[in-house]
């Protein structure tokens, strides 16, 4: 297998934003098959914007996004529909359909896009829920689930059609460290067992260190990529002060309140 066929996502000179106002400029990177690729950056750096443009929710201002050999920006009609079935997306709050049970949420893509027999669909739903450890929650409504369970149910739904690529937007947002670590283990297992390529947007340092094979870091001010590589590379060898601040969890200059004197604290 050559290097080119190993690339499942290629973003070329992407400029993205809303209402003609660019938030991201000149973004280029590639994601290899089977890796866990993470997009990091501070709040407001455009991580979720980048994700939404990669999955085709919004048209980019310029540039191309290639997924499994198809340009999602120019894909139309049946080609676009086929491409959309090649990946699953897990949104920040799960985005489960509140009027359906967990099992019905997972079953929906199977009903819409496959001609499997009923018994097949039932077993596939059970298998997906088993993979994320939610078999016992099949008949619960999303509102009855905890935050971590909602995320896992959303992953089960995103995997319903066995897509080779999964996009996750802030999977650990709002979760406690233990639940978050459990989600990291699940992501690694799914990547190893099924060869799923993960593209994950997060700023959770513990998750980044636990799951990322490679990552890119976005800068809020310039709207560009300021670092690429493995977490260890960036953590140990980067000379960029923003990257070092991020990995060492230090405030960057201009973010501190050292100069502010609080009433009653002058002598401290």
């Amino acid at each position: 297998m050559n290097a080119a066929s190993d690339i499942v996502i290629a973003v070329r000179r992407l400029a993205a934003g809303y209402g003609g106002r660019p938030i991201l400029r000149d973004i280029s990177f590639e994601v290899r098959r089977g890796e866990v690729f993470v997009v990091v950056g501070g709040s407001g750096s455009g991580k979720s914007t980048l994700l939404k443009h990669i999955i085709g929710l919004f048209p980019p201002l310029q540039g191309e996004v290639w997924i499994e050999g198809e340009n999602i920006v120019s894909a139309r009609g049946e080609a676009r529909a086929r491409l959309l079935r090649r990946f699953g997306v897990v949104y920040q709050n799960g985005a489960l359909f509140g009027s359906m049970t967990v099992a019905e949420n997972v079953r929906l893509p199977l009903d819409e896009f496959t001609d499997l027999p009923e018994v097949g669909k039932e077993h596939i739903v059970l298998a997906k829920l088993k993979l994320v450890g939610l078999t016992g929650a099949a008949d619960l409504m999303p509102a009855e689930l905890s935050g971590g369970m909602q995320k896992r149910a959303a992953i089960a739904r995103a995997m319903a059609l066995d897509p080779p690529i999964l996009f996750l937007d802030e999977p650990s947002a709002g979760l406690d460290p233990v639940t978050s670590a459990g989600l990291d283990v699940l992501i690694k297992q799914l990547s190893r067992c099924f060869g799923i390529t993960f593209v994950i947007v997060t700023h959770d340092l513990a998750s980044i260190n636990a799951i990322a094979d490679r990552l890119i870091m976005l800068d809020a001010q310039s709207g560009t990529i300021i670092a690429k590589g493995s977490p260890a590379d960036l953590r140990d060898h980067s000379t960029n002060p923003l990257v070092r601040s991020f990995f060492n969890r230090q405030a960057t200059p201009g973010q501190t309140i050292n100069e502010v004197k609080f009433y009653g604290c002058e002598n401290q």
């Binding site: 080119a4 066929s5 190993d6 690339i7 499942v8 290629a10 098959r33 191309e64 290639w66 499994e68 050999g69 340009n71 079935r85 090649r86 509140g98 009027s99 199977l110 896009f113 496959t114 001609d115 499997l116 027999p117 018994v119 097949g120 077993h123 596939i124 059970l126 298998a127 997906k128 088993k130 993979l131 450890g133 939610l134 078999t135 016992g136 929650a137 008949d139 619960l140 409504m141 999303p142 509102a143 009855e144 369970m149 995997m159 319903a160 059609l161 066995d162 080779p164 190893r192 067992c193 099924f194 060869g195």
Partner: protein
Amino acid sequence: MSLSDPKTTAVQAEVQAREGGRVTVVLRGALDVQTMGGLWRELEARLRPLKVVALEVDATALHLCGGGGLALLRYLKMGGFTPTAKVTLCGLNEDLDQLLWLFAQEDPEVPRAGHWRTASVPEEIGASARGFTRDLREQVAFLGTMAAELAGAIFHPERLRWREVKRLCIAAGANALPIVSLLSLLVGLMIGFESAGPLAQFGAQIFIANMVGFGAVRGLGPMMTAIMLAGRSGAAFAAEIGTMKVTEELAALTTMGLDPIRFLALQRVTAGIILTPVLTVYTMFAGMLGGTLLMVSLGFSIPEIYNQMTTQLHLHDVGFGLGKSVVFGAIFSSVGCLRGFQTGQGPIAVGVSATRAVVTSILLIILADTVFAGAGFLLG
């Protein structure tokens, strides 16, 4: 530009039947949900008729197996197609083999919000009655609180956030003018059309003016305005407050020491009480205009119509209509707010609250109108 072709080579299954009921199924290619559409049916069709004693599933040639593929392998292994056979599976990689083994394990029980079971008819009647009385109690309690808050606001108008009241009056009242105008005009025309035929038989078409006048001023005008506002603005009140509850903004208000009823409902009910009579006056004119247009088309002159209306219609009729509209305004706005406060969890709950607000408002408005009509009749 082309990067890589999707690895979607279709899955193939070869069924080898041998003597003594021994069958081997050899799977090749990529086994996932998107490629195995026909495979499930094909295996069922080929394996079910056979009297299989021993089934061997060979997965060595599978180069890809997704979660859906795993479900099929599990179904084969549990004898789904061959209930009487002893099934063995070989050639699966270690990770997938472990997952398949995991599938056989029981999950820990997930705690449920409430165990579901079928309730008997008496239980359902009891639960409905309990729900109805609880709702009634909440409505009465809310009505009492609102009355106290409104009374307080009359003596201390500074308690009201007037800027918010103005915003609500514009959103719920001024912006509703086009639809209210159109509907009122049409109702006036409709009353005229319906009464024109029967009255013509007695040569009494001039009395269309009385019918339209009374309808627009005392009866239908205030009620139609209130029903339109209940559908448009009452539902909006319920949805706004309901969304605030779902997003925990109400909890934030409470923990800040602010009473949500005083902070949110008081302004909305005040806006409802102010704007409903104003819109009702407008509706009265629009309704009478509709009737007048019809009468003009029937050959009556404007002075004739005006005289007929004013001889029968008095100022106390207008006052009666406006008095009703104040009550109707209080009903739709308080019900909208109450249903908003009663919103449950999740995005569906907001829709349910908006629907309940409209249904309850219309029911109470018609009930109140019946009481007004009865009282008007009895008191002359």
